[in-house]
């Protein structure tokens, strides 16, 4: 009975592995526990051991190819054992036509001792291995995936028809997340239609995409220098993961920075006392800091939490990531420079991090004094709006009231406001946004495309190039603002029109 060798899980976060190097070739004897191949995971290059003894009969995934966990990458068996059934299995996801030869070829390779596979067969097997990779297998039947697909899941060039690209932009669909059903994986109209239907994402203010025309009015875009010429260099799984995680870490985690000075004399004493207990025990200051941070996180669960879109998740364990400097860490600078050319606040402040201007959380619980009584106010989908009379302690807000943001959407303006005295009537709360009204207005035809034809450059964490999204007029957000303003809950101070957003 031949044994399949599958892509193993070599790190807790590994989703796919790249075959770095085969340490055995077809026909070589292998025994259990012997190193078989080197696998490039998202963390490091790891050695993979054989889990069966016999002869390495067939290499299915070749060096440099990436496959998801669990996919068959090779077959180990007796030298004369029939492996055609297993080869069929490897080719199961493959187009119908060539698979008939596959068994034949496989059988031939098996009788003539499995030295090195003939090139055609190798290519077929490569195709077989790849075709299991894209999510929608049936789509690969008619056309082999484009050369770049599968190998570089993130760096791949998106192939999309002009119509589909426009429909995706209108519907706010990220093309990176899609598999195309056209030749070479081209994303075509029907793919967008089914994505829209699946996600029930009806394109705002655009019930029938075929009616949409480009705005004819001159588009008022801020001065953005033309994109720089570039070259792409392929990276290892590890570098890709570092880059992805770094970008992600800036995103969903709200950042703010506090500084304080700490006398470390006691820590130094503690460290030398440890050395006296056991000279082999190497404890660095860094280790001590990590331990202290871990203790603090457990002690202050409010800090050991993350925002989950609709909830805040509190962790019971303190997981701390430590960045270790390797050559690849240069990527931090690369990420920063990429943004610098695109996002205005980076150009205005030549230092990092950014400075916080307004922060208005819209899900909060505070103990507050209202009319002399202490009450707990839970604002869910509402922002706190303290007028000047309640901000007496603050040098500025005590005069003007607390600032808060009335966000529109990526496609409309937002308003920077200050709270008015009328907010007392709403338990000092204001709307946290106008998104629903904006959508309703668009859906009911009360609002349409931005009359100046402005667009938002929508950046995605996983994507260097932005997509362009047509903006809407401000009727929806203005309506929301009007209600708040009439009751003096807020007073608008500045209108913010997005030209680039990071989603």
């Amino acid at each position: 009975m031949p044994t399949q060798v599958v892509m193993p899980k070599l790190s807790p976060t590994m989703e796919e592995g790249q075959l770095a190097r085969w340490l055995k070739k077809e026909g070589d004897k292998v025994s259990i526990g012997e190193p078989l191949a080197e696998i490039d995971t998202d963390k490091a290059t790891m050695e993979m051991q054989a889990l069966a003894s016999g002869v390495l009969r067939k290499i299915i995934v070749h060096e440099g190819e990436s496959v998801p966990l669990g996919q068959m990458i090779a077959i180990i068996g007796e030298p004369d054992e029939d492996i055609s059934g297993m080869l069929d299995k490897a080719g199961a996801a493959k187009p119908a036509a060539p698979s008939t030869n596959d068994t034949g070829n496989g059988a031939a390779a098996q009788t003539t001792t499995a030295t090195s596979a003939p090139p055609a067969e190798a290519a077929e097997n490569r195709a077989a291995a790849k075709s299991e990779y894209p999510v929608s297998q049936d789509l690969t039947t008619a056309h082999p995936p484009a050369e770049s697909r599968g190998d570089e899941s993130d760096g791949r060039r998106i192939i999309v028809s002009p119509l589909a690209a426009r429909m995706a932009a209108d519907a706010g669909i990220n093309l990176r997340t899609m598999q195309g059903s056209g030749p070479g994986g081209r994303i075509v109209k029907r793919d967008i239609e089914s994505a829209v239907a699946d996600a029930k994402l009806s394109p705002v203010a655009a019930p029938t995409t075929s009616q949409i025309t480009r705005p004819t009015a001159p588009v008022q875009l801020p001065e953005i220098a033309e994109a720089s010429p570039f070259r792409d260099e392929s990276t290892t799984e590890m570098r890709r993961t570092i880059a992805r995680r770094l970008v992600t870490s800036i995103g969903p985690v709200p950042h703010f920075f506090l500084t304080t000075e700490i006398e470390m004399d006691k820590a130094a004493e503690f460290r030398s006392s440890l050395a006296q207990i056991d000279p082999n025990l190497k404890v660095s200051f860094n280790d001590i800091v990590i331990k202290v941070v871990a203790n603090s996180l457990i002690k202050h669960p409010a800090v050991n939490a993350s925002f989950q879109d609709r909830s805040i998740r509190y962790y019971e364990r303190a997981d701390i990531g430590v960045a270790v400097a390797v050559v690849a860490m240069l990527l931090i600078a690369a990420v920063y420079l990429r943004w610098q050319g695109r996002v205005w606040w980076c150009q205005q402040h030549d230092y990092w991090p950014i400075s916080l201007k307004v922060d208005s959380p819209h899900n909060s619980i505070y103990e507050e004094k209202i009319d002399g009584q202490t009450v707990v106010v839970h604002r869910h989908n509402a922002a706190r709006a303290y007028p000047a009379s309640r901000m007496g302690h603050h040098p500025l807000f005590g005069k003007i009231g607390q600032p808060l943001l009335l966000p529109g959407t990526n496609r409309t303006s937002s308003y920077l406001c200050v709270a008015g005295e009328g907010a007392r009537g709403s338990l000092y709360s204001a709307s946290h946004g106008a998104g629903t009204t904006v959508k309703n207005f668009a859906a009911r035809g009360l609002s349409g495309r931005d009359p100046w034809g402005r667009v938002t450059q929508r950046f995605d964490y996983s994507q260097a190039a932005p997509t362009e999204v047509e903006q809407l007029d401000d009727r929806g957000v203005d309506d929301t603002l009007g209600v708040l303003r009439n009751d003096d809950i807020v007073r608008p101070v500045a209108r913010l029109r997005p030209f680039a957003v990071l989603n």
């Binding site: 028809s161 002009p162 119509l163 589909a164 426009r166 075509v188 109209k189 029907r190 075929s210 480009r214």
Partner: protein, 327 residues
């Protein structure tokens, strides 16, 4: 309305215009006594006499020049080329005189002339007699180029061509002279030049076809309908001026296009249509425009090879399925 052949429809158009305007006259090889190589001028010599229906010597350059001169002098000649393959000899008069005269005379001389005859492949007449020359004439500013695909279009367009004050190249198709269709007998039945016709409405793909390819495209559309594909068939009818708006409108609706033509692909009319679509409807395309042209070889004589050299119904169906991503 009566059901007649395209040959009869053309004959009616000539007859009606000869009766309507005494300045209209016909000339060409065998148009009078023999009543036309394809009998398009049947009965006209008898009815209008030898001053209005004139047999010429076998000298295309000569009688084309004669026609241009007559047009400058105020007559409205209709010059028949036995086939348009022979017009190649007359191209100096057509291109250098007829097409340029209005411009070079500063607007003093209109050239109201029609050059007509069969264009494209026939039945096994080989390389020199099977050529589709529309892109030649459409290339030059100053010429109008018309290609009817139905008897009604043939009649209405030929009458408009004769009444037009500019030189018109009127391209018929030998394989289509016997095609039948309903034709109005109203002497004022005119189809304006420069207006495309939607021969069939559909929503999944557009076939832009002209002349011989129109009936093929319609048959393909019928077959595709059974396969659940709704195809729109646009016949531009006039190549110059081209009614690109109608084509673009259709592309914006269907997002996929096949341009079918009998002529060679390189620098062909299909190439021009494709280019204009890519400029004017780029954002509406869901697939690259598919051009289905005659093969890029001289027309073979052998019947089986001749059939392979020009698009047929099956290849049109395959092309539509390709742009609609069905295969």
């Amino acid at each position: 309305m009566a059901v007649i052949t395209m040959r009869e429809a053309l004959n009616q158009a000539l007859k009606e215009e000869l009766s309507r305007d005494k300045n209209v006259f016909l000339m060409g090889e065998e148009v009078a006594a023999y009543q036309g190589a394809y009998k398009v001028t049947k009965g006209l010599l008898e009815e209008f006499g030898d001053k209005r229906v004139i047999d010429t010597p076998i000298t295309e350059l000569g009688f084309a020049g004669l026609g241009v001169g007559a047009a400058m002098a105020g007559l409205r000649p209709v010059v028949e080329f036995m086939t348009f393959n022979f017009s190649i000899l007359a191209t100096d008069q057509i291109i250098n005189s007829a097409a340029k005269m209005l411009y070079m005379s500063g607007g003093q001389f209109n050239i109201p002339i029609v050059f007509r005859g069969p264009n494209g492949s026939a039945f096994q007449v080989s390389s020199q007699h099977s050529q589709a020359l529309e892109s030649w004439f459409a290339y030059f500013p100053g010429l109008k180029v018309v290609m009817p695909s139905t008897p009604a279009d043939a009649k209405g367009l030929l009458k408009s061509a004769i009444r037009d004050d500019d030189p018109v190249i009127f391209l018929e198709q030998e394989r289509m002279y016997g095609n039948k269709g309903e034709v109005s007998d109203d002497p004022e039945f005119l189809i304006p030049l420069g207006v495309a016709d939607v021969k069939r409405e559909g929503k999944d793909a557009t076939i832009v076809a002209r002349s011989l390819m129109v009936p093929y495209a319609l048959k393909a559309a019928e077959e595709l309908e059974k396969q659940g594909v709704s195809v729109e068939v646009i016949d531009p009818r006039t190549i110059r001026p081209l009614d690109i708006e109608t084509i673009i409108k259709s592309v914006k609706k269907t997002n996929r296009v096949v341009v079918a033509e009998e002529s060679h692909p390189f620098c062909g009319v299909g190439a021009e249509i494709t280019a204009q679509i890519s400029v004017q409807a780029f954002d509406y395309l869901d697939a690259p425009v598919k051009r289905l042209s005659g093969e890029d070889v001289p027309m073979p004589y052998a019947k089986n090879l001749e059939n392979l050299a020009i698009p047929d119904v099956k290849r049109i169906i395959d092309a539509v399925r390709e742009v609609a991503y069905l295969d």
